[in-house]
């Protein structure tokens, strides 16, 4: 661990994010003799998947499952090699092609690098249903964070709603911990099955098949699972009081709840990469933006690579492999002396193993249209409290895209900087205008990619040009 003032001005490699991709990348770079800095916004390493791994409240192999403890080795290898590890570090932008700005405990530093590996991971896909802003409604990922880092579990009536692998993992971990969920409301579209058959043979060889089946069987044996949910709403005034749903067959029910967890998949956390002008494209299978990278995670920018789920969702094991590939490219570019062919073969083997049949999962758990493109009074932009109706009306006025929408509604201009509304706005506008999401585009993101204080900006070293820009004489 290192404080802001102890950081050097320059490193061979800067890695942003201490999840599986960042940890694996920095371990390999440091082993090859490069000077490395690992910047992460959490107080301890592991990312969200291995959150709390260094100070877990649980005994090994209990509750969280054996896969969680793989993070232990990654952390150990990453921090063993003389890397400068800076926790609670907010990287708020690339100021130049080879320089990042980072704020740690209120102090800002600029760090130059030979290569930066962005391993910013994933965030949860927005799940805009009526009432999703009520206190007591949280993401399944948030539930897992409370479990992993603080051994906090819900008490009282609890419902888990949505779709995707994480939903089943959380339910399984809660079972292990003796936590009772009142129901799982499964929103996975039943028609999705028709589209996944051609990927089934590949997925049959995926390590995720056995794991997934084991989790789902255990959960289904022990919990009430309602499948085929086509409508979902949270109700309450000061906090969530009930969840109502309707199934495809027309059955509807109102369940009183104290806590409602929502989840419909994860998407790349693209804000930093987008603000650095890395080109992104719309993925029609993952329904989100993914950066354009080559087989090593290298972008069109000579100093910038992206590894892990931030370069497209593929899971923790693939993320570590992609971290190693980005590291190999960095080492080759910066040292010119190591071949690393064996490391590359291993990484590509792992990547192949875990990416096999990914399209099966992507399509099977593709959220249904009504849960991605809400209607009427449902809030889309949580920060500015903008509804789907307002977005559709403004689009009907001739507003062409999300950036122009800001001028009308401030949609996407709150502190979350579009992370909780951006995908929804793109999809709503694309449908309303009859265009592809890739044609509608996304918010134009600029640094700082997290809100920082004036003092943190003022703390940057000044030069003559900067003084001239603001001085009166």
């Amino acid at each position: 661990m290192i404080a802001a003032e102890e950081l050097r001005d320059q490193y061979d490699v800067a890695v942003v994010g201490a999840g599986p991709a960042g940890l694996a990348a920095v371990a390999l770079c440091a082993r090859s003799g490069l000077t490395c800095v690992l910047l992460d916004d959490q107080p301890s390493p592991g990312g969200q998947i291995y959150r709390g791994i260094t100070n877990s409240p649980f005994p090994r192999n209990a509750v969280l499952g054996e896969d969680y403890w793989c993070g232990d080795i990654l952390v150990h290898e990453a921090l063993a090699g003389g890397t400068h590890y800076a926790p609670t570090a907010t990287v708020w932008g690339l100021l130049r092609p080879d320089e990042i700005a980072v704020s740690i405990g209120g102090m800002t530093r600029q760090i130059r690098f030979g290569r930066v590996i962005l391993a910013t991971g994933a965030i949860e896909r927005p799940f805009p249903i009526a009432g999703w802003t009520l206190p007591g409604v949280m993401t399944a990922g948030g539930a897992q964070i409370l479990l992993k880092s603080s051994a906090l579990v819900p008490e009282g009536r609890t419902v888990l709603a949505g779709c995707g692998p994480l939903l089943w993992l959380l339910a399984w971990q809660y079972l292990n911990a003796g936590v009772r969920l009142d129901a799982i409301l499964d929103t996975a579209g039943r028609t999705n099955w028709r589209r996944v058959f051609r990927h089934a043979a590949k997925f049959a060889a995926s390590p995720y098949l056995r794991k997934g089946l084991r989790l789902m069987l255990a959960v289904r044996r022990n919990l009430r699972v309602v499948a085929g949910i086509v409508a979902l709403e949270a109700e309450g005034s000061e906090r969530v009081e009930a969840v109502t749903y309707r199934t495809a067959s027309g059955y509807s029910e109102r369940l009183p709840v104290d806590t409602l967890f929502l989840h419909q998949g994860i998407v790349p956390n693209v804000n930093l990469a987008m603000s650095a002008n890395v080109e992104h494209r719309w993925s029609d299978t993952q329904l989100c933006w993914v950066p354009r990278v080559d087989d090593y995670g290298s972008t069109a920018l000579p100093h910038v690579a992206i590894a892990g789920d931030g370069a497209g969702i593929a899971g923790a094991e693939a993320a570590a492999a992609r971290g190693r590939l980005a590291a190999i490219a960095a080492i080759r570019a910066l040292t010119n002396r190591l071949s690393l062919d064996e490391d590359e073969r291993d990484a590509r083997h792992t990547l192949h193993r875990y990416e096999r049949g990914r399209a099966f999962l992507d399509l099977l758990y593709q959220p249904a249209p009504q849960f991605r493109r809400p209607r009427s009074e449902t809030i889309v932009c949580r920060c500015e409290e903008i509804t789907a109706q307002q977005i559709l009306e403004t689009t009907a006025l001739g507003c062409p895209g999300p950036n122009q929408m800001k001028a009308f509604l401030r949609c996407g201009m709150g502190p979350c900087q579009g992370r909780l509304c951006g995908l929804t706005v793109t999809e709503l506008m694309a449908q309303a205008r009859g265009l592809a999401c890739g044609e509608i585009g996304y918010y134009r993101l600029r640094p700082p990619v997290k809100p920082i204080t004036l003092a943190e900006i003022a703390g940057l070293p000044t030069n003559e040009a900067a003084v001239k820009a603001v001085a009166r004489e």
Partner: protein, 98 residues
């Protein structure tokens, strides 16, 4: 509503939430300590005054903003507790200091 599983260490320090002494663990964030203490709403919004609480718990959504030791707009889920920390729920938009 949340409870702590029995495993792990017991509460080891005291913080103050809207003036009430509240036990917390050293590894807690302000958000996890407040949830463990039974708090669900952490603030009201600047736009409509609607109550909000933590949603993502990973620094993304900015719905868990609270006042920490007199400073507004702190993300409860990104702030680790400290002994004697004074936390207040935040009504509406932030106010500037004196």
């Amino acid at each position: 509503m949340f409870r702590r599983l029995t495993e792990g260490s017991e509460p080891s320090l005291t913080i103050f939430i809207d003036g009430s002494p509240t036990p917390a663990r050293e590894s807690d964030t302000v958000a996890s300590a407040m949830l463990a203490a039974g708090r669900t709403a952490f603030r009201t919004t600047a736009v409509s005054g609607a109550p909000r609480g933590p949603f993502c718990l990973m620094g993304v959504c900015f719905d868990c903003l609270v006042i920490v030791d007199g400073t507004d707009n702190r993300q409860a889920c990104m702030t680790t507790v400290r002994k004697g920390m004074r936390i207040e729920t935040q009504p509406g938009k932030r106010t500037l200091g004196p």
